[in-house]
Amino acid sequence: MNAPRINGDAVLRFAPHARFRFDEVRQAWIVLAPERLLLPDEHAVEILRLIDGARDVDVIIDELAGRFEAPRDVIAGDVLPMLQDLVDKKVLRQ
């Protein structure tokens, strides 16, 4: 495996041709990418809204742990696999 593995100090942003936007018809957030369409659930939306090419993954996890008053390792267990999957799908990049 030579996929880039993300960890806490990774800074992620959306790939140039991925679009994360609000769809008025569905009243929902969507991710558009080449021949992919993702309809993230509300937890995923909370995570994706923090992807800005500036915060690193640790900061995002801290922020979500604070916001949901949840143990940090529980949040990390949700966030890391989801972000890794999106990196693997080339929707996000480091």
């Binding site: 495996m1 030579n2 790939a15 041709h17 769809d23 558009l32 080449p34 021949e35 080339k90």
Partner: protein
């Protein structure tokens, strides 16, 4: 929205816009209907512009420009810009023939987001032979380089079958060389022209298993560099594919002449009068057309689908395949092992063990064939 039948109808996600049936290639597995639309009946720029607006308002998010070869439309740059302007994510599905840097730059400026380039084989001589077009392979190499230089993501779509599966390893390597982000390894689906060539194209079980192992190894080796999507042929499946994600659930297809279909092969089904964009808006068609309601949801299903726990996973499989193989579009897709017609596929699989006959190239009656394009 809920239909009179009580089916909850979601807005469609994507539109396949078949701009034309004209194409310089003559692939033996062409998925277009046997009867092609002529250039004179193609929708004009204005009509497409209106349709894109209706699609976006209806909730369509992505438009796939397809054909035939969309590049033969002289107004392609305008069409891309029109679709992009109303917020659609624009994908161009192309053979790449006759795309130069200048036109690509104008397409990108118009809002093109992604290119899907077809690839017939890794070997230039064999690739040109499949495409029925001398120089196709070289043109594709050049176009891939242009797409990458323009900063667009590139998907290579490699259609695989019994005559090129032995090159699969090289096809995957070529996709990497071409700079692809994604590779679709798509086994031929047997509709239209491809069904007529089934005996020449259907792989053996052994070939299929080797191909699957090759893809799995490549996925591992190339993780993070190349995403590989793999479409297994129905003929070796145990359960059918959820064709189009279910009839009238996710996709709209508009033919060159403006017919609105739930899938691009649906015109092969008899007795369904498909509406056109001239007769009604896309929203009226999506929510109210009887042909979109015909196989939507599960109420139309007979056994074994009706009581199957997978009925909302497979959606009964493919209506066009059910019709093509059994003569009844409302039967369970024979690709399903539970179908009483599943034996029909076994017969085709059995013949895949024998020597393959020659395939017959796609014919375009409207386009005179130039001697320079004849390759054998």
């Amino acid at each position: 929205m809920t239909s009179p039948m009580g089916v909850n109808i979601e807005p469609p996600l994507a539109l396949l816009a078949e701009l034309t049936h004209r194409c310089p290639l003559r692939c033996p597995y062409c998925s277009n209907p046997l009867e092609l639309s002529r250039a004179s009946v193609e929708l004009d720029t204005e009509t497409w512009r209106r349709v894109f607006g209706e699609a976006a308002a209806l909730g369509v998010l992505q438009v796939h420009f397809s054909g035939g070869e969309p590049l033969v439309r002289r107004d392609l740059v305008d069409l891309v810009a029109d679709a992009s302007k109303v917020g659609l994510y624009v994908n161009l599905i192309t053979s790449g023939i006759r795309l130069d840097a200048e036109r690509l730059a104008r397409l990108v400026e118009g809002g093109l987001e992604h290119v899907q380039l077809s690839l017939q084989d890794s070997d230039p001589v064999f690739g040109d032979r499949i495409a029925g077009f001398a120089g196709a392979q070289q043109a594709k190499r050049e176009v891939a380089a242009l797409v990458c230089a323009a900063g667009l993501p590139l998907t290579v779509n490699a259609v695989v079958h019994r005559q090129n599966l032995r090159h699969l390893e090289n096809i995957i390597d070529l996709a990497v060389t071409l700079g692809a982000d994604r590779l679709e390894v798509a086994h031929v689906q047997y509709y239209g022209w491809a069904l007529a060539n089934r005996a020449a194209l259907l792989p053996s079980r052994e070939q299929l298993d080797t191909a699957t192992a090759t893809v799995e190894a490549a996925r591992d080796r190339l993780a993070g560099r190349l995403v590989i999507d793999y479409v297994v042929p129905d003929y070796y499946a145990h359960r059918p594919k959820a064709c189009m994600g279910g009839w009238g659930r996710r996709f709209l297809n508009i033919t060159p002449a403006g017919k609105v279909l739930p899938c691009h092969a649906a015109e092969t089904l008899p007795g369904l009068g498909f509406p056109t964009v001239a007769e009604a808006s896309l929203a009226e068609i999506w929510y109210h057309s009887p042909v979109f309601a015909r196989f939507r949801g599960t109420a139309w299903m007979a056994e074994p689908c009706r009581s199957c726990e997978r009925r909302e996973i497979d959606w009964g499989g493919c209506r066009c395949q059910a019709f093509a193989l059994t003569g009844d579009a409302a039967r369970t897709d024979p690709a399903c092992a539970l179908s009483p017609d599943h034996g029909l596929l076994a017969a085709a699989r059995h013949s895949a063990k024998e020597a393959a006959p020659d395939f017959v190239h796609r014919r375009h009656p409207a386009v005179p064939q130039r001697p320079s394009e004849r390759v054998s």
